[in-house]
Each structure stands twice: as structure tokens, then as C-alpha cells.
């Protein structure tokens, strides 16, 4: 049994309206980078923020008022996806609905603030620590929609969104749930920018230019993305479980294996994962190696940047929008993580 995509929602640097953002991606627009200074060294980074106005309506929510941006993104994206799915949460429905939350770096703003207080003041606020826990956004989301059953938070590299979709698919297959709200989010802080820059995965203002040689690094971004999985819906989803890799020289082969095992023919469209790093070349190699034809490819990270916890889900949502727009039936979503696993998903029109 394949899972169906019943609804989708996102909050991105380009907005939160599904079709309007998709149109801007198709038009080749790029979100505006915002500078973010490291107050310790003065070093300037750039990232793509989610405009605060997209989530500020949630600020009066008592459960969210002390939480970090990542929880706002999670709730905003999930509510939009539920609305698109036409699901009104009754207690009976909530009892059969699971939350699966994907995260890569977690509540990094509060984590940095908490540790900063500890280092500089020797004591830290008890209000900060609970929000540093990886599953805090999932908890806020479950409370918001009244889910008292299964709630899972998955952590990993930027392939974690597909791992979360797979887990959601598994919860439906094992009949633990009738619906799974799969959400992935990322928030950005200067310490995260420092880390990705030092890791040579993020570029400065020149980051995010795809397929350049040598790679200039990704443009880090904030985002929230949500996919409601159910047994009915306009799109069928088949997510690969993933292929682990440990050395970069094995990454392309791992992705090729995941793509081959997901679908090697009959693909009308690719929603690629190129982000301006070593991933661009590895993805290109893997697709050439694994696919029999060369379908057109769209790379949403050129417009939306790299939001590691959310980006795979953003690709899947982009796939549904692309399929809805054109006379195309099957879209491949290849995903290569930074340092964990490669994966892929096949999104098909259910009709």
C-alpha cells in the first residue's frame, strides 16, 4: 500500500501560499538574503529568513508564546496542510492521527542562548532549556491540534524529511494511524552559519549558486514544510528508506542506488536537491547513472535555499505542485544528505 498525499503546506522565505510561491520558483525568483552577524567575531553571514509576518498570528497562542521560531514554522505549515487536506480535527480523528517531525539542527537559537548564558553569566534561564529539546516543536504541534497518540521526532541530515515521510508511511502501513502529519523545519542562528561555513557547506553572499565549479556552498534558509499523509489524496507517495554512506566519494553511488530502487523509468520530472555544495555534482552523476531517460529537472533550492530539516519536504511539495500544473504524472525527488544518507521519493498523480 502506498501512502497518499492529502494536503501540503509551507512557510518559506518566498511566502506561504503554495501556488504563489511555486510560481515565483518557476519564474526564477530568489529570496532576498539577509545579513546575520556573529557578535563575537563580527563576521557577517547571509541567510534566507522566513518573513515574520507569515507566522506572527501564532504569537498569541499560549503554548507558543515562549517558543522559538522553529515551532512557529511547524505549527503554521501543519495548519496550512491540514486546511488543504480539508481535515477538521475531531477527537476521533486526532486519536488516529500521528505527528512526525523532521529536524536537522533543532532549536538552535534557544540552544545557543542557553549555553551563552551559561558561559557568560554562569546561570541560564529555565525557560530556555525545554525549547532546546529536539521534540519541542512536535510537542507544541501535537498540543495545538489535540493529538494524544503517536508523535515522533526524527533527527538527521538534510535527507531527514524523506526519512520522516517514510516513517509516516510506515505508521499507515502498520495501521497505527489513519493520517500522519509529517512536518520538517529549520531555523537559523549565527552559530549555525558559522558551523556550516567552517564545514565548507555554506557559502557567504555568493552561496546558493547551483552547479558552479568549484561549489560555492549553500545559502542557508529558514522554512517549515508539512505533508499530510493518508489513504486518500491526489498524489501517491513512495518514499525510499535511504542508503547510508560515510565517505563523500560514496555519496553519488548511494544516491544512484536509492534512485534506481525507487524508479528507473517513466519519470516525467525531477525535483532535484542541488544546493550549491558537493551535492550538485553527486546528484547529477547519480541521476545520469540511474535513470534511463533525462527528464526535465527543477531545483527549488536555487530559490528557497537550503533549510536542512525542511528541504526534502519542500521538494516533495514542489513535486505535487509541478504535477498539478502540467500534464505530467510521475515526479522523482532525489535527496542526498550532507553526511548521513541518500534517499529518493516517487510522487505520482493518483488519477
Amino acid at each position: 500500500m502506498s501512502a497518499r498525499i492529502a494536503g501540503t503546506g509551507w512557510v518559506t522565505p518566498l511566502g506561504s501560499d503554495l501556488r504563489a510561491v511555486w510560481q515565483r520558483i518557476r519564474n526564477g525568483e530568489r529570496a532576498e538574503p539577509k545579513p546575520l552577524a556573529n557578535p563575537e567575531s563580527g563576521r557577517i553571514h547571509h541567510y534566507l529568513p522566513v518573513p515574520p509576518k507569515l507566522v506572527e498570528h501564532l504569537a498569541r497562542n499560549p503554548r507558543l508564546r515562549r517558543s522559538s521560531a522553529i515551532s512557529y514554522f511547524a505549527v503554521a505549515a501543519a495548519l496550512a496542510a491540514l486546511e488543504e487536506a480539508g481535515l477538521e480535527m475531531t477527537p476521533a480523528l486526532a486519536a488516529r492521527t500521528a505527528v512526525v517531525f523532521a529536524v536537522s539542527d533543532g532549536g538552535v537559537i534557544y540552544t545557543r542562548k542557553f549555553y551563552e548564558q551559561l558561559v557568560k553569566q554562569s546561570t541560564a534561564s529555565p525557560l530556555l532549556f525545554p525549547e532546546t529539546v529536539y521534540n519541542a516543536p512536535a510537542s507544541h504541534l501535537a498540543a495545538q491540534i489535540g493529538i494524544d497518540g503517536a508523535s515522533y521526532t526524527l533527527v538527521g541530515d538534510n535527507s531527514v524529511g524523506l526519512a520522516a515521510l517514510k516513517l509516516g508511511e510506515q505508521l499507515l502501513e502498520t495501521d497505527e494511524a489513519d493520517y500522519a502529519i509529517v512536518v520538517g523545519c529549520e531555523e537559523i542562528d549565527w552559530v549555525l552559519c558559522e558551523a556550516y561555513r567552517d564545514w565548507r557547506l555554506a557559502g557567504g553572499l555568493s552561496g546558493g549558486h547551483l552547479h558552479s565549479l568549484p561549489p560555492r556552498g549553500a545559502m542557508l534558509a529558514e522554512a517549515g514544510a508539512a505533508v499530510v499523509l493518508g489513504r486518500a489524496g491526489r498524489f501517491e507517495l513512495h518514499a525510499h528508506e535511504g542508503v547510508a554512506w560515510t565517505r563523500r566519494c560514496d555519496a553519488a553511488a548511494a544516491l544512484a542506488e536509492a534512485v534506481r530502487e525507487t524508479a528507473d523509468a517513466g519519470i516525467d520530472l525531477i525535483i532535484g536537491c542541488a544546493n550549491g555544495t558537493f551535492i550538485d555534482a553527486a546528484e547529477a552523476f547519480a541521476l545520469r547513472d540511474a535513470l534511463k531517460n533525462e527528464p526535465p529537472a527543477i531545483f527549488p533550492k536555487a530559490a528557497l535555499g537550503e533549510a536542512p530539516g525542511a528541504s526534502a519536504l519542500l521538494q516533495v511539495i514542489a513535486a505535487t505542485l509541478a504535477l498539478a500544473e502540467h500534464d505530467r504524472h510521475r515526479a522523482l525527488v532525489p535527496v542526498l544528505g550532507f553526511n548521513q544518507q541518500a534517499s529518493a521519493a516517487l510522487v505520482s498523480r493518483a488519477d
Partner: protein, 443 residues
């Protein structure tokens, strides 16, 4: 973007919201927890799920044999923390692993000196599990953790604050992510498998085992490697201190005089396989996982609902999944963190569901709270109890809190006939998980 009506109505007038009204009703009216409304149906397929091997490293010992001896002896393995400054914290102690014992396993890996302690724990536990069943080929790896290589993140941040750019920062970054210890364990174990890393706070380890069980039971996988790991770090130590959840005293779960938790660390790994498949290839069988229950308590991010509804739902769902009645359970390995809130709600839930007839202990009394690894380590302790036919003790016990009539296995291990065990884990975010573990007669 227009939010759905339940969300729009929620923020200020939450009891006007249909959803919250329903939640309140369920909480306030001494509910029938077994109602079909809150009870997910049992999985369609009912395959038996064998545990063919396990590996465990904890303050109680490296390996199952050392651990078994320490459990029987009721050894207090909480020691002073010396690797970071604890002078400003209430608690000065934690259950720590003997790093030296882990070195040997990790030494096989290239650049082993650079590995984070969490990687060394994962490597030791994984290699022990795979050595126990050399024919086991994992199709999937599901691991629970809360903080990964957090101490590397701390070091990176400190270097920023101190305006240093040491060469080690590349090593810190490479070994910071929670997936790194899992990948290191795969390399050391000589296999490669897709992975799901569950970060459901302190329930993570039990969730990992429970989800692996659900997949094997439903026929989605034949063999899954699962478990959990966590290493003590300054940030987490300070975090629990800031919440005043940690204690300067000894950890005394379910005690009238309990004052909080101490942290612990470790890893435990299990090889789960469909029963038929394990029998067919003549694999050793340690026991079975027969049930799993998960629930989410939406009361508060860090505090459980006082009624104990979350823990009770998790235990009820696990028993329903195992098709067991409460009176068939011989021992409960409780979450038992010795904090005021956890023990009050868990004690109430156990008393309401099991009465005083089922022996209960919290093995955290011996080693502290290993967070994301706790559920996996305590599952390992439970299998050792099933194997050794004894009940691990709840040490440091003075006087059982009179709020609940529990049969606490106080201070000394108890010889007993143990066939069926429930192991509980509850965490921040209201995540609750329970597993049912059983001894199998056939092997």
C-alpha cells in the same frame, strides 16, 4: 493564510475549542481509558518478534555479564563529575561510563581518537549485539537519542566566544550530529543500513524499540537493529539544573524523600527479528517484544498531567498490543526519575492500572537517567531480569511515598518468577512509551 477554526479559537479561549473541550473531558472525568476513541487498533499482522541478541554499555558495566552482576548486587554507580566544572550546579554527580573500557572496540576504526564518547558507546553496544548473533543482517537501524555529540557543539561555541579558531573545530563539527555515532557503529559493525534516528526526548530509546517491533510484527521488515544512546554533556547537565530537576542528594525514585534526578549515560542495542525467521536460521533467542504503546500528553512541555493519563495510556496501549492483562505482568521497570512530577504521575498511573500487586523498581537509582538511551538500557536490564529470574532493585530507598500503594523492590534484588515485564519511558514534550517484554519457553 486562513487557519482552521479549531486553531483560530484556541489561543485565548481554549476551553471554547471543541478539541480542547474533548481533551478536558477525557482528563477530568475519571475516564475509561480503554475506550475505542483513544485506542489505536492492533496491527493487522501478528507475527512474533524475537530478540536474538543485545549489547549494553552503562555505568553498571560494559557488556551484559558485567551489567547482570551489578544489577544483582544493586551497585550504586553514580560518581563525581570531573570532566567539566559543576561547582555552580546543585548536582555534582552522574552515572558515568569507564571510557577506557570502550577504547578497545573503537580502536579498530580509522581516526578512533577523534570519536565522540557517544560513538564509542554505540560501537561497543552494537559490536556486542552483533557478536551475540553473527548471522544477523540488519535491514534497518532505528536509534533513539536526545543530544548526539552535544559536547562538541559546546566546544565549538566556546571557541567562538573566546575568539579562537582551533584546528579541532572540523573534528567537533564532523562528530556533532546525532547520526554520526550511528554511522560509526555501522562502520565498526561492518554493515550498512538505512537509519531512523528518533529524538523523542527521554522516551527515544523505547520509541525506537517499539517502532522496530511494530515494523517486524507487521511484516514490513524481517530484521531491525534498534536501541538508543546518550552521553552526558555540560549543556544538558546545566539544563536539568536550571529546571531544578537534578539533586545534590542520591537519586531516590518513588521515595517520600526524593529530591530529583542525576544524569547517566550509555547505550543499548537489540537485534529484533521475525520469530519464524530467527528460528529457521537457528539464532539464539533472548526473549520477545510482545507489545508497544505510545501516547502524547499535551498538558505542558515539561510537566505531565497530574492525573497520569499519559503514562497510563502508554501502558494500556502496550498491554493491549501484547494482549496481556495487568495481572499477567510480573515486574515493571519504571521510568522513575525521582523528580516530584514524574514519580507522582507514573506512581498514580501504575497504582491505578496494576494496584500494589506488581513489583516496581527504577534502575535509574543505580546509574542515573540516561535520557534518550534510558529506555533502551532499561529494556536490556529487563531482559537480564527475565534471563536471571530476579527483580533489579530500586536502591537508595528509604520510605515509599504513601501517595500510591506500590510494591517497590527496595534496595536489594529479589529472586522471582519473571515471565512478563513492562518497561516505561516518559519524556519532555509529553512523549510516553511502554514496551512489553517476555521470556520465551521454546528457547
Amino acid at each position: 493564510m486562513k487557519a482552521p477554526s479549531f486553531a483560530r479559537n484556541c489561543p485565548r479561549g481554549k476551553w471554547n475549542c471543541r478539541l480542547h473541550r474533548a481533551t478536558r473531558w477525557r482528563m477530568k472525568s475519571a475516564p475509561d481509558f480503554s475506550s475505542a476513541l483513544s485506542q489505536p487498533p492492533a496491527p493487522q499482522s501478528k507475527r512474533r518478534v524475537a530478540v536474538t541478541a543485545m549489547g549494553v554499555v552503562s555505568p553498571l558495566g560494559c557488556g551484559a555479564e558485567e551489567t547482570l552482576a551489578a544489577l544483582r548486587a544493586g551497585r550504586d554507580c553514580v560518581t563525581a563529575v570531573t570532566d567539566f566544572d559543576v561547582s555552580r550546579f546543585r548536582s555534582k554527580t552522574a552515572g558515568r561510563l569507564d571510557e577506557g573500557k570502550l577504547e578497545a572496540r573503537a580502536a579498530k576504526l580509522p581516526r578512533s581518537a577523534r570519536l565522540h564518547p557517544a560513538s564509542r558507546m554505540m560501537i561497543a553496544a552494537t559490536c556486542e549485539a552483533l557478536a551475540g548473533d553473527p548471522g544477523f543482517r540488519p535491514e534497518l537501524m532505528i536509534i533513539g537519542t536526545t543530544s548526539g555529540g552535544m559536547s562538541n557543539g559546546q566546544a565549538f561555541f566556546r571557541a567562538q566566544v573566546e575568539h579562537r579558531r582551533p584546528r579541532e573545530r572540523a573534528v567537533w563539527l564532523a562528530n556533532y550530529n546525532p547520526q554520526k555515532p550511528v554511522l560509526d557503529a555501522q562502520v565498526a559493525g561492518g554493515f550498512s543500513a538505512p537509519m531512523q534516528i528518533i529524538a523523542n526526548a527521554c522516551a527515544s530509546g523505547t520509541n525506537a524499540i517499539g517502532h522496530a517491533f511494530a515494523l517486524v510484527r507487521a511484516g514490513k521488515h524481517e530484521r531491525v537493529l534498534c536501541g538508543g544512546y546518550d552521553a552526558v554533556s555540560e549543556l544538558v547537565f546545566a539544563g536539568f539544573d536550571s529546571l531544578q530537576a537534578s539533586t545534590p542528594d542520591r537519586i531516590r525514585p518513588f521515595d517520600r524523600n526524593r529530591t530529583g534526578l542525576v544524569l547517566g549515560e550509555g547505550a543499548a542495542i537489540f537485534t529484533l527479528e521475525a520469530w519464524e525467521s530467527a528460528v529457521k536460521r537457528g539464532a539464539p533467542i533472548l526473549g520477545e517484544v510482545t507489545g508497544y504503546g505510545i501516547s502524547t500528553d499535551n498538558h505542558h512541555l515539561t510537566q505531565p498531567h497530574p492525573s497520569g493519563i499519559g503514562p497510563r495510556q502508554a501502558m494500556e496501549r502496550a498491554l493491549a498490543s501484547a494482549r496481556r492483562r495487568p495481572e499477567e505482568v510480573d515486574y515493571i521497570n519504571a521510568h522513575g526519575t525521582a523528580t516530584a512530577f514524574n514519580d507522582a504521575t507514573e506512581g498514580a498511573a501504575i497504582a491505578a492500572l496494576f494496584g500494589s500487586r506488581t513489583p516496581v523498581s527504577s534502575t535509574k537509582s543505580m546509574m542515573g537517567h540516561a535520557l534518550g538511551a534510558a529506555g533502551a538500557i532499561e529494556t536490556a536490564f529487563s531482559f537480564l531480569a527475565l534471563r536471571g529470574q530476579f527483580l533489579p532493585p530500586n536502591i537508595n530507598h528509604q520510605e515509599t511515598d504513601p501517595a500510591w500503594p506500590l510494591d517497590i523492590v527496595a534496595n536489594e534484588a529479589r529472586e522471582a518468577r519473571v515471565r512478563c515485564v513492562v518497561s516505561n519511558s516518559f519524556g519532555f514534550g509529553g512523549t510516553n512509551a511502554s514496551v512489553v517484554l517476555e521470556k520465551s519457553d521454546e528457547h
